[in-house]
Amino acid sequence: MSGGSTTFQDRLARARRGEASARDELFASCRSFVGLCARAQLEQKLRRKVDASDLVQQSLLDAHRGFERFRGSTPDEWMAWLRRIVSNNALDLIRHHVQADARAVSRERPLEGGPETSTVAFNPFEPAARQETPSQVLMGMERHLELAAAIEQLSEDHREVVYLRNVLGLPFDEVATRMERSRGAVQMLWMRALETLRSNLARESRP
C-alpha cells in the first residue's frame, strides 16, 4: 500500500519537471477511475444510464491541458481534482442537453451560497484546501485506482451490478428495475460479481 503514494509522488514530480512519459503514466493509471467518476456524476443527476465516454475524453483532455494548474501534492488532492473536473464537465453537459431552461439557469450567477450555487461551476483548478487528517483516510489512492480498474475488467452484468449497488449506492429494488431483472436474480448476480472481483484482486496482488 505504501508503494502507491510514492509511485504517485514520484510520477507527479517527474511529470512536473516536464517528463511526458510520467505524465502519460499518471493519466493512464487514472483512466478507469475517471470513467467511474463520469458515469457516477452523470447518473446521479440524470437518474438513468448514459454513455459517458465523451465526458471521460473531455475531462482527461482538460486535466491534461490544465495539469500545470494542479497545485496539490497528495494522491487525495489529485483524485479530488480529477473528480472536480469531471463534475464540472458533467454539469455543463447536463445543462446543455437536458435542462429545459438551460440558458436561463447558466446565466444565473448567485452572489454566493444558496442552493442555486449548485449551478455555478467553481474553478476546478483551485488548490484543494489542505487538511490532511491521516487517521480519517480509510483508503489510499492506489487502492481506488486498482478497484476501479478491477471493476472495469468484470463481465458486463457483473460490472453493472457492482456499479449500481456499491458505487452508486442504489437499493436493490432500483438496481433490479434498471437491469430489468428480478430482485432475487440481481442479488445473486451481485454476490457472484463480488466473488469474482475479490478473487481477481487477490490474484493481482500476488506477485
Partner: protein
C-alpha cells in the same frame, strides 16, 4: 489474505440466500459506518471479516466518484463523511464562502442541513467572525416559514451550523418548469413576505431574496432558506460589487446594484420580493441580459415592462402592487414587507389596494424612463428639426431646398420610434433593433448630408456622435459597426464634387476618417472596460 473465502451459495433459485442477505446487511452497516452491527455480523460469520474491507473500499470509491466527499476541506476525500453526530449525505449547494450539506442527525433521527465555511480550518478569523454572527442572528429568528437553526458549533476547528432540512425544490427550478396562476402566486408568496416582515420587525434585512433561496416543500409551502447569507456572511455589498464574482443582480434593488450600502433599508427586500412576484406572474425576470454589466444598468435605469405584456390575465391592481415594489426610489416602495403583505391580502379580498394608479406626472416619468434612449434621440432629432424649420422661416427662398431635409428628419424620428417599439415588444431582439437604430442614424444622416452637400461643413461631425451613442450599448462590436458604416458613408459622400470654388484637401479627409476610428476605439474601450468590471468568473 491466505484464509479461504467463505462458502457462498450458488443456487439458481430466485430466493435470496442467507449469504446474500448477510452480505447485504454487512454492506449497509459499512455504508452507515455502524461499527456495532459490523462486529456482530462478523462474529456470526467469521468469513465476512474479509469482505468488510472490500465493501468498505467499494463504498469509499463510490463516494470518491460521486463527489462531495470533502467536507469543506476538512475531511480528505475518500474518508467517511461522519461529522460529529451528523452523517453528511449530499452537497446541496456551494458558494464563495459557504457550503451546505444534507445530513442525518443520528441521535435524533432527523434530516438536517449543515452549513460550513468553505475552506475548513483555513478560513480567516474575519470569515469565522462573520459566519458566527450570521448563525447567531439566524438562530434568534423563529418563524415557521424560515428554516430553523438547531445548533451552532465547531467540530475539529470546523465552524458549522445545523438547520432544519426542508424537503423540496428551489423556487427557481420550480418556475423554470411550471407556470403559476396569478392568485396562486400571491397566495404562495404571502407567507414568505410575512416571514420577511418578521425579520424587518427585528431590524434585519435579508438582502439576498431570490427564487433560489426560497424552497417549495411538498405541501406547496415556501420557506426562506439560507437566511442571512447575504446579510452577515457578506455584510458589505461593496465588496461583492468589486469582488470577482458578481451575483445575479436580477433580484437586487437598484440601490444595492448601485452599491449604495448605507441607503439599504427593508425596502430593498420589498424590491426583491416584487421581482420574485413579477417573475411568477410574467414567467420571466424583470430584467434579463447576458451581460451582468448591462443587467446592472437596467436594474438601475430601466422601467420594467408591465406584467400584462407577458401575461394578460394578471389583474391591473396586482400589477400596481408589483410596480410599487419595483420603484427605483426606495421611498416610493412599501416601506417594509408587512405593508406589502397587507396590500396583497387586500387584493385577494378584492378591497381596494393602497398601490393605485399613478399621478399623471409619475406616469410621464415612467414613460420617459421606459423609453429612455429613444427619448434622448428624439430630443436631438427634434432640435435638428426646429433648427431647420427656423432656417426655413428665416429664409423662405430656401424652403424648397430644405423640404426634403425636413422629410428626412421626420422619417428619422419615426424610424427610431419604430425600432424602439419593436424592441420593447420583443426584448430578445433588442440587440437587433438597436443595431438597426444605429444604421438608421448613419443612413439618414448621410442622406441629409448628400442632399445638402454639406459634407465639408460642421454637420459631418455628427458621425462622431453616432459612434459615441453606439458605445452606450456597452457592446464594442456595435461601436465598430457604427464606425464601419460611418466610414463607408463618408467615402460615398466624398464621391460628391466639392462645392464650387472649394478645394477638398485629401489629407484633411484622411484625418477625418482617422478621427472616426479613434472615436470608435475610445468608445469601444469604454464599453469593454465596463463590461470587464462585471464579468463573472468562468470555468476553464
Amino acid at each position: 489474505m491466505s484464509e479461504s473465502p467463505p462458502s457462498l451459495a450458488r443456487s439458481e433459485s430466485d430466493e435470496p440466500s442467507a449469504d446474500v442477505l448477510r452480505m447485504e446487511k454487512l454492506f449497509q452497516a459499512v455504508v452507515a459506518n455502524d461499527q456495532s452491527t459490523i462486529e456482530r455480523l462478523i462474529e456470526e460469520d467469521r468469513g465476512l471479516a474479509d469482505w468488510k474491507n472490500l465493501l468498505g473500499d467499494l463504498h469509499s470509491l463510490g463516494q470518491q466518484t460521486r463527489g462531495g466527499a470533502e467536507v469543506a476541506g476538512l475531511l480528505p476525500s475518500g474518508a467517511e463523511r461522519i461529522f460529529g453526530r451528523y452523517r453528511l449525505q449530499e452537497e446541496l449547494g456551494r458558494g464563495g464562502m459557504g457550503v451546505v450539506y444534507r445530513a442525518w442527525q443520528a441521535d435524533l433521527s432527523r434530516p438536517v442541513a449543515i452549513k460550513m465555511i468553505l475552506g475548513g480550518q483555513l478560513s480567516s478569523d474575519e470569515q469565522v467572525r462573520r459566519f458566527q454572527a450570521e448563525a447567531q442572528l439566524a438562530a434568534q429568528v423563529r418563524h415557521p416559514q424560515i428554516v430553523t437553526i438547531h445548533e451552532v458549533g465547531e467540530i475539529d476547528g470546523q465552524h458549522f451550523y445545523a438547520m432544519e432540512y426542508v424537503d423540496g425544490i428551489g423556487l427557481d427550478r420550480y418556475l423554470a418548469e411550471n407556470r403559476v396562476e396569478a392568485e396562486e402566486a400571491v397566495r404562495l408568496l404571502i407567507p414568505v413576505i410575512r416571514a420577511v416582515q418578521h425579520l424587518h420587525e427585528r431590524n434585519i434585512i435579508h438582502r439576498d431574496l431570490k427564487p433560489a433561496n426560497l424552497i417549495l416543500d411538498r405541501e406547496r409551502r415556501l420557506h426562506v432558506a439560507d437566511f442571512g447569507l447575504a446579510t452577515l456572511l457578506n455584510p458589505d455589498t461593496r465588496q461583492t460589487l468589486s469582488g470577482t464574482v458578481l451575483g445575479t443582480p436580477a433580484y437586487m434593488s437598484p440601490e444595492q446594484a448601485a452599491g449604495k450600502v448605507k441607503e439599504l433599508s427593508p425596502a430593498a427586500d420589498v424590491y426583491s420580493l416584487g421581482a420574485i412576484l413579477y417573475q411568477m406572474l410574467a414567467g420571466r425576470k424583470v430584467f434579463d441580459d447576458e451581460s451582468p454589466a448591462l443587467l446592472l444598468l437596467q436594474v438601475i435605469e430601466r422601467e420594467p415592462q408591465p406584467v400584462m405584456a407577458f401575461n394578460p390575465r394578471v389583474p391591473r391592481r396586482l400589477w400596481w402592487i408589483v410596480r410599487r415594489c419595483l420603484e427605483k426610489d426606495p421611498h416610493r416602495r412599501y416601506p417594509n414587507a408587512g405593508e406589502l403583505a397587507d396590500d396583497l391580502e387586500r387584493f385577494l379580498r378584492d378591497d381596494s389596494v393602497v398601490a393605485g394608479k399613478d399621478a399623471w406626472s409619475q406616469e410621464i416619468v415612467r414613460f420617459l424612463r421606459r423609453h429612455r434612449t429613444v427619448m434622448y434621440r428624439l430630443a436631438a432629432i427634434g432640435t435638428a428639426l426646429l433648427v431647420v424649420l427656423a432656417r426655413m422661416c428665416e429664409a423662405p427662398e430656401y424652403a424648397a431646398f430644405y423640404r426634403p431635409v425636413v422629410v428626412d428628419i421626420v422619417a428619422w424620428g419615426l424610424l427610431v420610434v419604430l425600432w424602439d417599439v419593436l424592441g420593447q415588444r420583443r426584448p430578445a431582439q433588442r440587440d437587433l433593433t438597436s443595431t438597426a437604430t444605429t444604421f438608421t442614424d448613419v443612413v439618414v444622416l448621410t442622406h441629409i448630408l448628400w442632399l445638402t452637400q454639406a459634407v465639408d461643413g460642421p454637420v459631418v461631425s455628427l458621425y462622431h456622435i453616432v459612434i459615441s451613442a453606439a458605445g452606450l450599448s456597452l457592446r464594442p462590436r456595435r461601436v465598430w459597426l457604427a464606425v464601419g458604416a460611418s466610414l463607408i458613408a463618408y467615402g460615398l459622400l466624398m464621391l460628391q464634387p466639392p462645392e464650387e470654388g472649394m478645394i477638398r484637401l485629401p489629407h484633411l479627409s484622411i484625418l477625418y476618417a482617422l478621427s472616426l476610428i479613434v472615436c470608435g476605439a475610445i468608445s469601444s474601450s469604454h464599453a469593454r472596460r465596463l463590461a470587464l468590471l462585471t464579468i463573472a468568473d468562468k470555468t476553464p
